[in-house]
Amino acid sequence: MTRDYNLKTVLGEDKFNAIHKSKILLVGAGGIGCELLKDLVLLGFGEIHVVDLDTIDLSNLNRQFLFRHKDIKQPKSFIAIDAVSKFNFHNSKLIPYQASIFETDKFPLSWFNSFDLIFNALDNAEARSYINKIGLFLNKNIMETGTTGINGYVQATIPNLSSCYDCLPRETPKTFPVCTIRSTPSQPIHCIHWAKNVLFNSLFGEDDSDEIKLTDKNIEQLGTDNEEEIKTLLAENNELIELKNSIFDDSFVDKIISKIFIKDIENLLKIDELWKLRKSPIPIKFDQNVQKKLDLITQDQLGNGQKIWSIEENLKVLISSTKNLQARYSINKEIEFDKDDEDTLNFVVASANIRSYIFHIQLKSKFDIKSIAGNIIPAVATTNAFIAGFSSLLSLKVFQNIDAFKDTKSIYTSQSKERLISSGQLSYKNPKCASCSITRSFINIDNSLTVKELIDSLIDKYQYEEEIAISIGSKLLYDIDFDDNIDKKLIDLGITYGVHLSINDETDLKNNVEFYIELNDEGKIQLPDLIIPDKPKPIVEDKKDQNEQDDDNVEEEEEELIIMEEENDDDDLVILESISSTVEKRKNELELIKEDAKKPKN
C-alpha cells in the first residue's frame, strides 16, 4: 500500500517495521497529547497506550482538536482514542486509561517496562519528575515536551547519559514578604495575592489556618521589624477571625467593607514610618450616596469581564458575590477558591481591585485577574502542533537507537528573525543531579519483615562498611542515631509496592542507592546482584566566581512570571517564566554541567 511505501521511503524499511511492532506510552492527552497522538497514529506505531486523569473542559477546545463541545466532562484519554480511531490507517492498537500516572497498582514498574518508548505530554513538574525516575529505574528513553503560549521545547532523556528532567533546578514560585501583601502593596499582583490567599481564605476557607502563621515564631518572615506594624498586623488578623464569626449575619458584607477597606486602612495610616516614602492609601467612602450609585449599576454594565470595573462596580460585585458565598457557606462550611467558580472569582477580583484603588495601584479586568489568581498558562493550537511534530519526528531517531544520544537534538522555539527553532546537541547529565547521579535498582521484599532484617540483608549483600541510613524521600526511617524503628515492620513504615527507598552509606564511601520496592509474601528479601559504585568525589570548582557572575547576568535579564502557588491548573505545561530566558538559562547551566563532566575526576 502507498501509505506504507511512503513511510518506508522516509523512515527506511527497518525503522518502519520496528515502529509497526512497537509499544509506546503517551502520558497526557491534553494540548500536546492530542497532537502527538495524531502524529503517532499516522506514523503507524504498533500499540499506543494513553494515560490521562482529566476530563474535557470548554477552555480545552481551542486547541485539543480531538474534543468537541458534546465531549465536555468526558475523560480525555477515551475521547482522544475514539477520535483518532477514525483515522487509524495503520491499525495501531489503542488503549486508554483514565487514571493518575502515580497509581502504582494500576501502573506498576513492570507495566512501564513493557513500553519501547515513553512520550511525555504533561502539564506539571511532579508528573514529569516521576516519569523521569521511572525512565532512570528502567533505563528507558523519554521524549519530554512542554509549551507556554507560543514557546515550547522538546528534549529526549537518554537515561544515565543525557541530562535528565531533574538535572536542572526548577523555578521556585515567587513569594512576597508578608508586609508587602498586608500593609504596603505596590502592584496589582500584591492585591490579588492578598484578596485570594489572605482575605478569601480567612473568610471562607478552612478554619483558622491563618492565626498561627502570624502569632508564632515566623516574625522574620514578615519582612519588617517595625513593631508598630507587626502589632497592627496581628490585631488585624485577630479581627479577621472575629469577622469570620459573623459570616451568617445580614450585615456581614457591610462589616467587611467597613473593617477591611476603611478601618484597617485608617490603622495603617497611623504608622507614619510606612508612608514617608510611599504615597499614603486612602480608605474608601461607603455611605448612602455610594449605595445609591451601586443600585443604578446593571448586570449589562458589568459586561463579561473584559473591561476594568469602576470602584463602584467593584463594590457592587463584592457585595453580590459575598452574599452568594454566605449562602453557600451555610451549606458547605468551607469554600475553596477556584478560578472557574464565578462567586469566588468575583469576590477576589472585586476585593483585589478595591484594595488597588485604595493604594493607588492600577485596577485590572476580571479577565486579567483570573489569569493571575488561577495560574493560567497561555496555550495555542499551533505551538502544540509544532512541538508535538518535533517530538514525534525526533522520536524516530531515539527509537531503538543505541546512538540516540548523539543522533537527536534538543529543540526550543525561537523568536529570532533568523530561525524558528534553536536546536542543540543533548547535554551530558549533571554529575550533581540528585535523581540521575544515584544508583537505581529494585528489591523484592516481604514487608511484614522488620527494618532490622532489611538492614542486615543490605549490609551483608553489598558489604557496607558500617552503618547505613534508609529513608523515603526526605523522611528518615532509620540511621545510627535514630533506631526507634529498628524492630518495626516495614509495612508499618509505609514501605509498600512502588515506594522509592533510599539507602545512604553513612561512611560516604558507596554511592547512594534508590530501590523501587516490589513485594512478595514469602518472607523473603531478594536483593539484586549489584555493584554499588564508590561515591564520586566532590568536584572542585575553580571557575566558581566566573560561573556565579554568569548566573547573575542571566538572573538580571529574566522576565519573571509570578506564580502564587505550586499547582497549576492547565493542561499544557509550564515553563514558569518567559521561555526565552529559560532557554538561555538552561543553555548556560548545561554548558557548566558539560564543563564539569569533562573535568578529570581524581
Partner: protein
C-alpha cells in the same frame, strides 16, 4: 471595531486570548482566508486556523482521496478513499471543530489570475503549486493587496515563502540591554519609531517600536542580492536545502544530476559556493511529494502561527522564506 468578545468566545478562547488578547482575536475573526490544496500541510493549517477562530475559510481542492493522503490527512477516513476529497463528510468534520468559523469548499476550476475571485479574500495560502502558478498567483495577490503564503513539503524537508507586501506594525517588547534605534535592521526591515517606557506592572523598561517590513514577490527572490552581502562564514551557514527547494520549484527537475546543475545556478546567483555532495539531491528527490505527519504538523503549525502573528499584530511575522531540514533539525529564516 469593538473589542468585546461574547461570553461564549471568552470562555472558549480563554487560553489563546492570554497570548494575543481580545484585539488580536477580533482581527483574526475579521480575516477571510483561502487555502489552495488541502494536502497534509493544508490539513494542519486548516485545523489550526479553524481552532483559532478565523473569520471565514474557503478551501479549494479538486482532488480525489488517494492512499498516500492517509499519511498525514486526519480529516479523512478509509471510506473517503477515491471519493472527492472535499466531500460533505470532510467539510462537516472541519466545521465541527469550531462552528463559529464559516467554512466553504470550492472544487471548481481555479484560474490563478481571476481577480474577481481572489478579491473575496485578504489572505491566501497555496500548498504544493508549481512555479508558473506561483508567479501568476503572486501577481494577482500583489495587484489586490492580499497576503500570500506558499508551502512545499517533501519528506522531512519543508519550504515556506510569504509575501505580505508591506507590513507596518507596532510591537511592544522588553528593552534589551542595547535598545532599539530608528533605522534599517536588515535588508527588508526597518524600525521607524521607538518609544521607551517603564512598565509599572512588570517593573521593566519596555519599548514600543514600529517595524516596517517590506516583502518581495516570489519571482524577485531568485535575483535577491541579500545573501551576497553575507560574510564568508555566514555564507557557509546557508543551508543547501534553500537553493535545492528554489531550483526544484522553478524547474520541477527530478533527476539528481539535473537538479544539481539547476541548484548550483541558484547558488551562484546568491554568491554561494557550488554544492558538490550528491547526497542532498538524492535524499530530496527520493522523498519528493511525500508528506508525513510530524513534518506537516511542524510546517502547518509554523505557517498558521505566522498567519496569526500577522493578523493579531502581537508578534512580527517572518520575512520571507524559511525551510525545515528535518534531518538536521534546523529551521532557518532567510530574507531574500
Amino acid at each position: 471595531m469593538s473589542s468585546e468578545l461574547s461570553a461564549d468566545e471568552l470562555a472558549l478562547y480563554d487560553r489563546q486570548l492570554r497570548v494575543w488578547g481580545a484585539e488580536g482575536q477580533n482581527r483574526i475573526k475579521n480575516a477571510s482566508v483561502l487555502l489552495i490544496n488541502f494536502n497534509g500541510v493544508g490539513t494542519e493549517i486548516v485545523k489550526n486556523l479553524v481552532l483559532s477562530g478565523i473569520g471565514s475559510l474557503e478551501i479549494w481542492d479538486q482532488a480525489k482521496v488517494k492512499e498516500s493522503d492517509f499519511n498525514s490527512q486526519f480529516f479523512l477516513t478509509e471510506e473517503d478513499l477515491n471519493e472527492i476529497k472535499l466531500n460533505n463528510n470532510v467539510k462537516h468534520r472541519i466545521s465541527d471543530m469550531n462552528p463559529r468559523v464559516k467554512i466553504s469548499v470550492n472544487t471548481n476550476e481555479l484560474e490563478f489570475d481571476d481577480a474577481e475571485y481572489f478579491k473575496n479574500f485578504n489572505l491566501v495560502i497555496a500548498n504544493e503549486i508549481d512555479y508558473g502558478q506561483i508567479i501568476q498567483l503572486n501577481r494577482t495577490t500583489r495587484a489586490l493587496n492580499i497576503a500570500l503564503y506558499i508551502t512545499q513539503v517533501h519528506g522531512v524537508f519543508g519550504f515556506v515563502f510569504s509575501d505580505l507586501i508591506l507590513d507596518v506594525s507596532k510591537y511592544t517588547e522588553i528593552k534589551n540591554p542595547i535598545g532599539r534605534s530608528i533605522g534599517k535592521i536588515s535588508s527588508n526591515q526597518e524600525i521607524i519609531e521607538v518609544k521607551k517606557f517603564f512598565d509599572q506592572e512588570s517593573e521593566k523598561v519596555k519599548e514600543t517600536f514600529t517595524l516596517k517590513s517590506t516583502y518581495k514577490q516570489f519571482e524577485e527572490i531568485y535575483q535577491s542580492e541579500n545573501l551576497k552581502s553575507l560574510t564568508r562564514r555566514n555564507k557557509k551557514r546557508v543551508n543547501p536545502l534553500l537553493s535545492i527547494f528554489l531550483a526544484y520549484i522553478q524547474s520541477g527537475l527530478t533527476s539528481v544530476e539535473e537538479l544539481k546543475i539547476k541548484t548550483n545556478e541558484v547558488q551562484s546567483s546568491f554568491g554561494l559556493n557550488e554544492i558538490e555532495d550528491l547526497k542532498y539531491f538524492e535524499k530530496f528527490i527520493n522523498q519528493l511529494k511525500i508528506e508525513i505527519s510530524p513534518v506537516t504538523a511542524i510546517i502547518g503549525g509554523s505557517v498558521a502561527q505566522d498567519i496569526i502573528n500577522f493578523l493579531s499584530k502581537k508578534v512580527a511575522p517572518f520575512n520571507n522564506v524559511f525551510i525545515l531540514d528535518g534531518e538536521e533539525y534546523v529551521m532557518p529564516i532567510y530574507e531574500l
